[in-house]
Symmetry: C7
Subunit: 259 residues, 7 copies
């Protein structure tokens, strides 16, 4: 009978140099509903499928504004996400108060990476059980970061995490070349299309279960940020309709939605 | 012989990314007697079945006022609930003293969510073994929140937690459309009817085992809160009588109680 | 071979959401000799059987005055009871010093409930292994509370805890209607009668093994408290004689001692 | 194969509500040589058999003066006893310095009871492995207390703890009526006789292995304390001779030493 | 069935005096992609293969500037590397602020060695799961250090760590005599050639997966440092082309790339 | 298969009330080479066999001066002994500084007893693995104490601890009557003779492996202390010669060295 | 199946009074390459074989200067040695700053012994896995100490620790009489010869793998210290040549190198 002796805490290496509890914590991310992020030169969008355990509840929140220039999408343990998002809000606010301007997105992401690492090297704590996509803009341009429970953070042009997110990533990879110069509308449609790929049969994106968040630069401006904005319910209808039409025309193949 | 190696504390992930101790703590909620909450645009009601272990005791308290604008219903470990309700009272009081007005319900709920999460990420502690329904009003309107031992909090229009609460939830789902515009009286009757659905054969709601709590806006006012008020004993008789009649007329089918 | 994996500390939930160490601690209460409490509108009495491990010792103390208006009866680990009773004395004294009047009984009971809960949620501690009956009077009237190792507290009109206390509770339930308006003398006799029910064959209540504690309002006064008073040895003889006679007349049936 | 899962620390209850480590610690008391205490209205005596592991050592000390009005006899772990006796000396001294008079014996005993209880409710500590008999006088009269590792303390008129102490207790029980009014000399003889009962065959009480400690009120005074005094070696000869004679006359039956 | 009892934490020696958790942590280094470092008298170069888990991500960063005169290459857990590199930046900055000049490389390396050792001698922590190559210049000349999770640090003239790094080390050993006097360009080409040796079949170094970092003394100066500079993407093309040509001419044998 | 569950730490009692780790720590004393102590009315001597693991080392030190009036002999873990002897030196020095005179030997011994007891009642520590003989003089006369890892301390007239010390104790017991009035020379010879008894065949006491320490009162003075003095190498030759002669004359029987 | 229950931490005694983790830590010393130390009346020399895991690395450092008058040789865990040597440097420096002169070698050694002992008596730490030879001079003359992981320290005239050090010790023992009056050159040659004895077949001492450290008194001075000096590479050639010649002449027998 096989008995793994090295997977009970995050302070024990396996003989192969692996830390299983960190790996297991990344499985918790896969338990969450899928979120997708895409960055163009001008915008970053986050799209999420909101789960609804029972009809009575409003749908679970998946997107959160952190600061004017920055928002996150979460997949995994919601209450762990609250801790991290509160921490990010405090960091961002503190930076504004100290320096009089928005915190660079990479610095903000670095802070949660460092915070999360501590929990992977101290007995009696556990890694956070949540993954984040962080969307933001700053003087360096638009940014999309993935944060993992291990504390690892990585900048990407497109990403999907959560249940069945592999399908979304496949879609993103196929269309990666279209992102850099895409308009805000196009980006959103790509994001929703990627979400759509993850649905199990008979499920559809609806105005109830879909959320979109966008930040970016103002039209015609190189460095004026548009505040992070959440779109829900009726606001997402136009885009859902658009991808629905587009999908009908592209059934069965990797979609080429762009104009 | 199956031996689960990952379910002894809340700081260990299973290989599938689950934290069993959090899941087990949510079972503790199901050990408590059922409580129901419903929110309309103007009111929020909490209804509870009070257990009575032996005849000598007064019935176990299930509803507690937290502040003028806010009350809770509990299901699970009573002494854990005391800790959380004392904490909420202090938070609400502190807010009043600092800002001169009632604490927004969402903020209050956020505080206990954050407090509870700590116990799910630190060895040597355990998650709280109690679930709460939080009813309140503030400038944003009426609110009904569910709090779970994991620290997760969620806003809903109707909810039931505790033993056999699934039956109550089924009732609420069937009647969900009637809640938003229901009067206070109607809301209470819906709540009691939902409670009634959870009773095992031969059990009935009585003036002894039933408690009702209500908060909301004053008649004809948009933002003047009615203080959270508990109704017990004789005060609940009228409503019990009402649903009893109504039930006789609706035996055997999903009730349509509304006028 | 069945091996319970979840019952070694109070910070582990079983898969059913139970915390076995809390349940086991309540077994410790059943190891103590029985104590009975009854409240009327005017008085609260505590009656106890004192054990005597060997002839040389005076009988183990079971009743303790906490403050002028309040006393307790204990069942379980005597040295745990000392800790709690010292704590209560300090709380009560502190309240008097700060506010210039007696601490409300419910507040006092709340304090020990909160203190005891801590030990049920922290690794390395254990729940208290003692149950208490708290008798007191304050502006709200007479009070009888039960305190359990879990930290749960409950107000009752009559209660019995400790070894074979179920027999006493049965007696109390049969006679519950007589308590509210009973005189002090009658209450005491009910308490002793309830104690008597728990005796194993050939054992009797004697002036050596019986203790009685009473608090209440002064004759003809609504809010003047009579200090908590202990009756032992010869002082309890009259009541023992009374119930002895009464019992002879009522052998074999639920007693109706009242006038 | 039976495997007790609940007996490794003092913070785990067994399913029956027992704490085995506390019970085991009380076994440590039985590993110590026997000590006997008896209280009359005027005096309290402590008698001890001193063990002598090897001829080279002076005999192990069993009796210690704590303060002028108070002394102890120990059975169990000598180095644990040192900790407790040092603590008692500090308490007694502190009381004298603060209040200008001797500490009431019951208060002193209460302090060690409370101190010992802490070790029964904290992981990483263990109960003290020693039992004490505390003899003292104060304004309330003479006192003899037993202290147990659990923190339990009890006032008695006669007591014996340590190896084979049951035999001594049996003697004491038989003669209990003679103690209250016995003279100091008589009390000592009763104590030594009780010690004698615990001896295994061929062992005798000698001036080397016997120690006696006495405190009490001065002849003809109601409240003037005689300082706690230890009698060893030649000083105990007269009493040993006396009981030896008396014993010859009473061979084979429960002795009635009294005049 | 063999069961290793000594490999669960870094505070337990095996009977042979080994600490397995330290050894296992060094396996974590081998999980990272390979990095190579070479020092000449005038320059130090770091070369890395960047992994790309999926197409969407930019490649994982492997080289980091610590201070003007110093940079690192990492292999192993990225989030552990972040902690160490942040620590090094703080140390280097603090030294500059305190002494007004760059921190000697050996001192900087000593600091992380000492920091890492702590984690190998304290229960509840784990060794860092990352290896570093530290390249820097100071008054003593050029320096290349290897840092291991054990806290061991060692100065070398050439080194390679990470997956399949043995092949790179073999290349370095064959060409060791050429390093001391090599030009910057030659050093880089040696580094890339060493990297190339570690590739599995069909893999190639590309401008996307290759990174180069260089520090050294300014042309014609003995002690003026050239700031640590990273070369990526198009900047590495010339060198990749160079080794590609050279490789064609040297297929099948240990390369002698030098002029 | 017998598995002792109670012998892994000093905070667990066995069901018989024993603490095995304390008992095991006393075995560590038996691993040390033997030391002997004897007290007369005027002097205290310590004699030791020094082990020599290899020829290169000077012999292991066994005797240490603590203060002018006091020295110790050790058997067991040398580095534990260092901790205790440093502690004693500090205590003795502190006493001199505070009170202007030497610390009473019993107080000094009491301090290490108390210090050692702590390690027997706290998880995560272990009892000291060393036994001490403490020789000293003060106003009460000469003193010889034995200190055990349990924290137990005992005054004796003669004692031997360490490997095969039973043989030495047997010698001491046979000659115990000669000690009280023996001269310093005689005491030393008794000590060496006792040491000699513990030797395995073919081993002899030599000037290299024998150490002697003496303190006492100055010739003709009742309370002027002779500083603790160590005799090694050539200084012990006279005594070794003396007992060698004496032994020749007494071969085969318990020696009667005295004049 | 044998299962050792007592060897997992340094705070558990085996039933025989042994602490296995301390013994295992001393095995770690044997994992290090061998170092040799020899003291004459005028000088102390340390000689070491430096290991070279791979050709690229400079050889591992084995000798370190601590202060002007003192140096060490290490065998075992290099990063543990760094901690101890940094500690020694701080102690020595602190002593110089406080007292204006070099720290006595014995005091310095005592400090690390005391520091190391702590790690053998506290759960959650481990003994240091390194042995040291400490060479120094002070007012008392020349000193060579061995430090062991247990905290034990011992003064010797010659010593060797590390892998296969037994062969070196045998050499030293054979030649011990020659050391006291040997010149510096002779001492070094003895040290190197002892090192040579530990080599496995076909291995030779070379200028790359051999290091020598020397401290002592200046020529013709009794108390002027020569600063601790390291000799490496070409500097050791003369001595290697010398012992090589000498060895040729003495092949096959215990060498008598001395003049």
């Amino acid at each position: 009978m096989f008995r793994n002796n090295y997977d009970n805490d995050a302070v024990t290496f396996s003989p192969q140099g692996r830390i299983f509890q960190i790996e297991y914590s990344e499985e918790a991310v896969k338990q969450g509903s899928v979120v997708v992020g895409i960055a163009s030169k001008k915008h970053v969008v986050l799209c999420a499928i909101k789960r609804n355990a029972e009809e009575l509840s409003s749908y679970q929140k998946k997107l959160f504004a952190i600061d004017e220039h920055c928002g996150i999408a979460i997949a995994g343990l919601t209450s762990d996400a609250r801790v991290l998002s509160n921490f990010m809000k405090q960091q961002a606010l503190g930076h504004r108060l100290t320096y009089g301007r928005a915190m660079p997105v990479a610095s903000l992401v670095d802070e949660i990476g460092t915070k999360a690492q501590i929990n992977t090297q101290m007995y009696g704590k556990r890694p956070y059980g949540v993954g984040l996509l962080v969307a933001g803009v700053d003087e360096d341009g638009t940014h999309l970061f993935e944060f993992k429970p291990s504390g690892m953070t990585e900048e990407l042009v497109g990403c999907a995490i959560g249940a069945r997110s592999q399908m979304a990533r496949t879609y993103l990879e196929k269309n990666i070349d279209a992102f850099a110069d895409a308009s805000k509308e196009e980006l959103i449609k790509h994001g929703l299309q990627a979400l759509h790929e993850t649905l199990v049969q008979d499920k559809e994106l609806t105005i109830d279960n879909t959320a979109v968040g966008v930040t970016g630069f103002k039209e015609g401006s190189k460095n004026k940020a548009e505040p992070f904005k959440l779109y829900e319910a009726a606001e997402v209808k136009q885009w859902l309709d658009a991808i629905s039409e587009s999908k009908e025309g592209n059934e069965g193949e990797g979609m080429d939605v762009d104009e």
